[in-house]
Each structure stands twice: as structure tokens, then as C-alpha cells.
């Protein structure tokens, strides 16, 4: 029985899947309810007690290998699908710019209305000496 399990281990390491469906089918084949792994566990009951330890270890290795391989296949086919979906010739998604602050909207409007009357725009520093404020 150990030989049988080792054969499966080799088989599993060579698995390939190009689409999500193929990967899913492999999953069913190996870990599904009537899959190879369950058959092996059923067979395990008939194994004589002296061999149980080594056969059990082998089955567990196989089980872990299968799980890893299938996960790997599923994630790689997902990646594959994503790559196919991106059409590099399409225009990109534009970044959404923020909006103006309501105070700035109004300020700009006020300045614009007076600009029409040829009032010139002036910008000056925010720090002052007291002389400019409290002079009498």
C-alpha cells in the first residue's frame, strides 16, 4: 500500500491545470467525497496494526501535498484569469480629484465678481506687527 501512496505523491506533484474548472475537477478527484484520498483512508482500516504507523504517515504526507498543490493551482488560475481580463489598450481609470472647500468656492466667486469691476487681487502674509492693527 505504501508504494501505491508514493505513486500518488509523484502524480500529485506533476499536476497541471490551466483553468479554474480544471483545478476544481482535480480537487474533486483527489479530495472529493468519493476521491482518491477517501478511498485510501477506507483502505487504511484493513492495514495490519504493525504497519499502521508508516502507512498513516505516508497518507498524511499525501494529504498535505494534495491540499497544497490544489490551492496553488486554484490561485494560479485565478491570477491567469485576472491577467486575461485586463485590456491594456483601454483608457485607464482616472483618479478622482477632490472637491473645493465651500469657503473657497464662495471666496473665488466673490473675487470673480469684483474682478469684473477691475478690482485687483491681492494676497498678503498672515503675520503682522501690532502697529498695523491698533494704530490710532
Amino acid at each position: 500500500m505504501i508504494e501505491k501512496i508514493e505513486k500518488y505523491i509523484v502524480e500529485v506533484s506533476n499536476l497541471v491545470a490551466n483553468t479554474k474548472e480544471e483545478a476544481e475537477n482535480l480537487r474533486i478527484k483527489y479530495i472529493g467525497r468519493n476521491g482518491i484520498l477517501n478511498d485510501l483512508f477506507d483502505e487504511f482500516k484493513t492495514v495490519p496494526n504493525e504497519q499502521k504507523r508508516s502507512v498513516g504517515q505516508a497518507i498524511n504526507t499525501l494529504k498535505n501535498n494534495i491540499q497544497e498543490k490544489i490551492d496553488e493551482l486554484i490561485s494560479s488560475t485565478k491570477k491567469l484569469n485576472l491577467e486575461i481580463k485586463i485590456d491594456v489598450t483601454l483608457p485607464g481609470d482616472s483618479l478622482k480629484l477632490g472637491s473645493r472647500h465651500p469657503v473657497n468656492i464662495i471666496k473665488n466667486r466673490i473675487v470673480r465678481y469684483f474682478h469684473i469691476l477691475v478690482f485687483l487681487f491681492l494676497k498678503v502674509q498672515k503675520l503682522k506687527t501690532t502697529g498695523m492693527f491698533f494704530r490710532h
Binding site: 468656492i105 503675520l127 503682522k128 506687527t129 498695523m132 491698533f134
Partner: protein, 187 residues
């Protein structure tokens, strides 16, 4: 001296409490005719409430030339009110006092409730939006401008006040909270 946000002592440096200082500078540097509009952020040591904040924005206008009269001021403000609040807006000037202008006036516009009376205008039908006046001849003289030859007017308004009226914002603090849900509404 009023308490405000001082940055340094000797010489006293502070965050400006109004944008009128810009006008002093312009009058000292430039020769008439002068026509400027100066928006800016100003800072006052005030309690923060729904109606007032320690940071806000002002826009000030200044116009100095020969034969500038109060009628020019009125017409300029009427033009502004109609542009900002709609063609049917009227203005009302109430005598007031500001240190740099003589005579001075506060300007109200008609409320959107059209005089019926609402919470916004506290049932008066009028909303105060700015202060203005003819520049005091002494101010002109101090800045080296011949007050016999030139006259001028100045006006100043709070941007937040107008934004709140315009967009129906109830609390001034919303403008400074940077809440994206609030800001998103002005795209």
C-alpha cells in the same frame, strides 16, 4: 490692546485679526487710482460656537479715485448682492461705525423668505452680510494720499457667513472639521 493670537513679543508679532492691514500697505505703496480686492484668513481669540470661530475668512475691497462717492459704493454692493444671491436681491444700508471709515454702514440683503419671516433672518426679512464705508480722510492723509483730491470706499465681508447663507449651513464649525461626508456635498 485686545487679546489675540500673539506669536512673538518685542517686536509684537501676531496672527492678523482682519485684512484691513492689507489696505494700509496698498495705500502707502501705490498711487491712486487704487482698486483692490484682498481675501484672507484671519484669526481672533474668540469662543468657538455655531455662529463664530477663531479662524475665518474675510474679503475686503478698496477703491480710491477722484470723485468716488457713496453712490458708487451702493451701486457696487448692489451689483455684488445681485450676482451672489440672485437678480431679485435688494440691499439695505444701516448707519454704523468702523474705525477707518466715515460715514460707515452695515449692509443687509433681502432674505430668501422674501420678508415673510423665517428662522434665518429672525423674522426681519433682512440678512446682514457686510460692513462698508467711505474711507476716513485722516486715513488717506496718514497714508500719503491727498484727501482733498481723492476719496474712496472700503468694504469687508466674512466668507463663511456668505457660504453659510448660500449653502444653508447651520453650524460654522462644520467648515473646519474636514469631515469628508460634509465636503463631498460641494463637488
Amino acid at each position: 490692546m485686545q487679546d489675540t493670537f500673539f506669536i512673538e513679543k518685542n517686536p509684537d508679532i501676531l496672527l492678523r485679526t482682519h485684512t484691513s492691514s492689507v489696505q494700509v500697505r496698498v495705500m502707502e505703496k501705490e498711487k491712486p487710482p487704487i482698486r483692490t480686492i484682498s481675501p484672507g484668513r484671519v484669526f481672533r481669540n474668540e469662543a468657538i460656537s455655531a455662529r463664530s470661530h477663531c479662524i475665518f475668512h474675510q474679503v475686503e475691497g478698496l477703491y480710491i479715485d477722484e470723485n468716488v462717492s457713496f453712490a458708487d459704493l451702493k451701486q457696487t454692493l448692489l451689483y455684488f448682492a445681485k450676482e451672489m444671491f440672485g437678480e431679485n436681491t435688494e440691499i439695505r444700508l444701516r448707519p454704523s461705525f468702523f474705525p477707518f471709515t466715515e460715514p460707515s454702514a452695515e449692509v443687509d440683503i433681502t432674505c430668501t423668505c422674501k420678508g415673510k419671516g423665517c428662522n434665518l433672518c429672525k423674522n426681519t426679512g433682512w440678512l446682514e452680510i457686510l460692513g462698508c464705508g467711505m474711507i476716513d480722510p485722516n486715513v488717506l492723509e496718514l497714508s500719503g494720499i491727498d484727501s482733498k483730491k481723492y476719496t474712496g470706499f472700503a468694504f469687508g465681508m466674512g466668507v463663511e457667513r456668505i457660504a453659510m447663507l448660500k449653502f444653508g449651513i447651520k453650524d460654522i464649525r462644520l467648515l473646519f472639521e474636514n469631515d469628508v461626508r460634509f465636503l463631498k456635498q460641494f463637488e
